[in-house]
């Protein structure tokens, strides 16, 4: 704890201090992810650019295709404060600065690697290898998921595949639409598998895919269970740790290593709960990190909150998807994936139809109750409309149901220049004072 305090005093821009051993073990894994791509490139094996949450995980694992998670790489450059040169390189090509900086860093990186004819010098973790294919998604939200790779063909003239992944609006009658939604996802995944088979000359081993899905489902469950333990007071694990512990779940899913990681995390959090070991010694306020991607270069703002007695016991962002029941008739692995996806995205729709109209608000209301939350903070990453347009609305709706202090901080995921350190600190200070006022009022 002493070490933590020293770190906090060093300010928002200092290195983020993690609480759990599990979170500290993640950096070697991100290095390994890059290393695996370097090895695959050296051996001439297939490598795919991918986005998270697109149902690629188990499929590419089953086909031994090495992923490069371009968002993850962009975040690493941001943590290392190296994003700017790639953003500028994309800007030089005409991409506006307000485009998603995960994507502009990827574009800018691709531009540089293409122009230099080699890896940009001093790129973090040895850089991103040139992919042999790029796998985008036509999702319900996040248009950059297909536009970015389509445009990147200017610099990587390799095949792109985009599969559709849609879910219905919150007010849709699920009984009326679910069959054709699931059928659609299954067929789009089948198209994806056809494409991958053609690109790699390999055949999908459906049994293996089923096994990997089993392992992934087990992993989601233990990951989810570990996070449920975070309801304890004092909070055993904070949001800044979750920003690391998400890595195996989002970038390494379907591996034994990911399962083992979350099993260890579960054990560690359980130990802390059983022994009442909190993130900070004197926990005064518990804040929910609402939907919003973090400023990767300034995660230490969360430590700053801690120095003021406020802890983030839980977060919406990168929370593992709660387990869902798959209909027993869904046996084919693609059907299992499709149902899992559909159910995960619609599981709060009926509650939303009965109450707030918004599944995300329903989730936040659940968390506020379960995790004994005193206030809500949302971070607005200004270059991503997907997640950050709608935050004002979510909080407006939330206010109709709970009386808690809420704050939106604004900067970006990767663009350091969007961050105002002094202003952010001031706003945090004021927010924590408000938490105190509310708390007193309630007592």
């Amino acid at each position: 704890m002493e070490e933590k305090k020293g770190g906090l005093l060093a300010g928002i821009y200092s290195r983020t201090i993690k609480t759990t051993d599990a979170a500290k073990k993640v950096r070697p894994l991100t290095k390994k992810i890059s290393q695996q791509a370097h090895e695959a490139a050296a051996e001439g094996k297939p490598i795919a650019y991918c986005f998270i949450m697109s149902l690629h995980d188990e499929i590419i694992r089953a086909m031994d295709i090495t992923p490069i998670w371009t968002e993850n790489y962009a975040a690493i450059t941001a943590v290392k404060r190296q994003g700017e040169r790639f953003i500028s390189s994309a800007q030089g090509e005409g991409f506006p600065r307000n485009l998603c900086t995960y994507c502009t860093i990827q574009e800018g990186f691709d531009v540089m690697r293409h122009q230099l004819g080699m890896m940009p010098p001093d790129a973090p973790d040895g850089g991103m290898e040139r992919p042999t294919m790029m796998l985008g998604t036509g999702m319900m939200i996040c248009d950059p998921r297909y536009k970015s790779y389509q445009t990147a063909q200017r610099y990587n003239d390799v095949p792109v595949h985009v599969h559709g992944l849609l879910w219905p609006a919150a007010d849709a009658n699920l009984a009326e639409v679910q069959d054709y939604y699931v059928k659609y996802i299954v067929e789009e995944l089948r198209d994806l598998v056809d494409f991958l088979e053609k690109q790699t000359g390999r055949k999908m081993d459906w049994d293996r895919l089923n096994e990997i899905i089993d392992l992934a489902n087990k992993t989601y469950q233990v990951w989810y269970d570990a996070y449920q333990l975070r309801k304890a007071i004092p909070a055993p694990m904070p949001t800044e740790d979750a920003m690391s512990t998400m890595v195996p779940g989002y970038f390494w899913m379907g591996t034994q290593e990911a399962f083992d990681f979350y099993q260890d995390l579960y054990n560690e959090v359980k130990y802390r709960v059983d022994n009442r070991i909190g993130v900070i010694p004197d926990e005064k306020y518990r804040i929910l990190w609402a939907a919003g991607l973090p400023p990767w270069f300034a995660l230490a703002i969360l430590n700053y909150f801690e120095s003021l007695g406020a802890v983030f016991p839980i977060e919406i962002t990168y929370h593992p998807p709660p387990p869902v029941e798959i209909p027993s008739h869904a046996k084919h692995p693609l059907e299992r994936l499709a149902w899992r996806f559909f159910k995960q995205w619609t599981q709060r729709n009926e509650e939303a139809q009965r109450r707030s109209g918004d599944p995300m608000v329903e989730w936040m209301l659940e968390m506020i109750e379960d995790y004994k939350i005193d206030g809500v903070l949302a971070h607005r990453a200004t270059t991503c409309r997907t997640i950050h347009v709608g935050q004002i609305h979510q909080l407006n709706v939330l206010r109709d149901y709970v009386d808690l202090p809420m704050l939106i901080l604004e900067s970006d995921i990767c663009d350091v220049s969007a961050f105002d350190e002094a202003g952010t600190k001031d706003r945090i200070d004021t927010f924590v004072e408000t938490l105190e006022v509310y708390k007193k009022r309630k007592q």
């Binding site: 991409f95 536009k147 200017r154 849709a172 639409v177 659609y184 109209g357």
Partner: protein, 382 residues
């Protein structure tokens, strides 16, 4: 004599929802629609009036800041601000198709805060696979059933086909209208044409067809044609849905003879197949033939073929309408167009059509700065 032709267009353009309000007073229901992907055919077939939701470029945001982030598409924010000010109170419902991330978001915010009597979200796939077509057809079926619940009866096959016929007629008339820009100087200015198209989306399709017929015959006969300008240009972009931007370009030395805009050629350069299954035909027409970067056109061969497949139609417009250059008017925070415009500009440059990319905030606030840039570009290409 009742007003017709361009005079009537001007009246509808100035009066915006005026005709819709009149119709509403007579018991008609008016359904507001965003973007190009909600087939008005289904609304018309139900005896309702589709009305395209646009913003107001003369207005800045007054109230929407408390509901929507400044990083959102300024057209969405602007149109929602109008709604907050009560300017869309005449709508009996609204329909939002899944065009892009921003439009998806506007659905919830509008519905929660303005509580329209009817609302419906139509999901639109981003890909053109066989599964996407099947899905979109099913989704249009869901939309049809939702409209049927609103009117309390089923829409017959005959009504649907009649409606498709009327809207096909409208699209054909729009294409005929554009033909009038082929001569040099064109017989109709770009800003006049924009007003015609806006007026056409604010009245029932039968009236829009009449209106277009009267405009076309008036323009064919007119003597006061727009003056010949040093340049002919194509304007490309997303929801540029008012005349002032086009007037600006025309005011500094060019005729805007063709466009690739949401209130422009984009929703009108196709027909919906009238024989066979109407939902399938609409799904195919709207998904495949509305050329918007929000739809991913799969690459089937090499890079060159891919670019031809995605942008060839713009180069064809440019050739057919003999333009000297392209102005790409991109709205801030419109991700799809921001990604795409870089490629479009390069492609058209290589096809022999120089381009200028300008990012605008939807309103007329930056008009002086815009003028200077457009002027410099026109001097270069003239």
């Amino acid at each position: 004599m009742a007003e017709e032709g361009l005079a009537k267009v001007e009246k509808i353009y100035q009066d915006r929802g005026g005709r819709a309000k009149e119709l509403r007073a007579q018991g008609k229901k008016i359904i507001g629609c965003y973007c190009c992907y909600a087939p008005p055919e289904i609304i018309t077939a139900a005896g309702l009036v589709p009305y395209r939701i646009t913003g107001d470029v003369k207005e800045t945001i007054r109230e929407a800041d408390s509901y929507l982030e400044a990083i959102m598409c300024p057209f969405c924010r602007n149109s929602f601000d109008m709604a907050l000010r009560g300017e869309y109170d005449f709508l009996d419902g609204f329909v939002v198709p899944h065009t892009c991330d921003n439009i998806v978001k506007i659905y919830d915010v509008w519905k929660y805060n303005l509580k329209p009597p009817y609302s419906h979200f139509i999901n639109v796939p981003h890909t053109l696979s066989a599964a996407s077509l099947e899905f979109f057809k099913a989704e249009l079926g869901t939309f049809q059933r939702s409209i049927e619940r609103l009117i309390g009866r089923e829409i017959s096959l005959q009504q649907l086909k009649e409606s498709i016929k009327l809207h096909n007629e409208y699209r054909a008339l729009v294409r005929e209208l554009y033909e009038l820009s082929k001569p040099d100087p064109p017989l109709i200015s770009g800003s006049e044409r924009m007003k015609v198209l806006l007026a056409g989306t604010r009245v029932p399709v039968e009236e829009a067809n009449e209106l277009l017929r009267s405009v076309i015959s008036e323009v064919k006969e007119r003597r006061d044609v727009p003056p010949k300008k040093p340049a002919r240009v194509l304007v490309y972009g997303p929801e540029i849905d008012d005349a002032p931007f086009i007037e600006l370009v025309e005011g500094v030395g060019a005729n805007v003879v063709i466009d690739d805009l949401c209130v422009g050629t984009r929703p009108y350069w196709f027909d919906v197949e009238i024989n066979g299954d109407p939902l399938g035909a609409m799904a195919q027409a709207y998904l495949e033939k509305v050329n918007c970067p929000r739809t991913y056109r799969p690459r089937t061969a090499g890079r060159k073929e891919d670019l031809d497949n995605r942008f060839g139609y713009i180069a064809n417009f440019a050739k057919e309408y003999k333009v000297n250059g392209i102005i790409l008017l991109i709205l801030n925070y419109c991700d799809n167009y921001e990604f795409e415009s870089v490629e479009v500009k390069d492609y058209l440059q290589q096809a022999g059509f120089p381009g200028l990319i300008i990012e605008v905030d939807y309103t007329l606030m930056s008009i002086d700065w815009l003028k200077t840039r457009v002027q410099a570009f026109l001097e270069m290409i003239s």
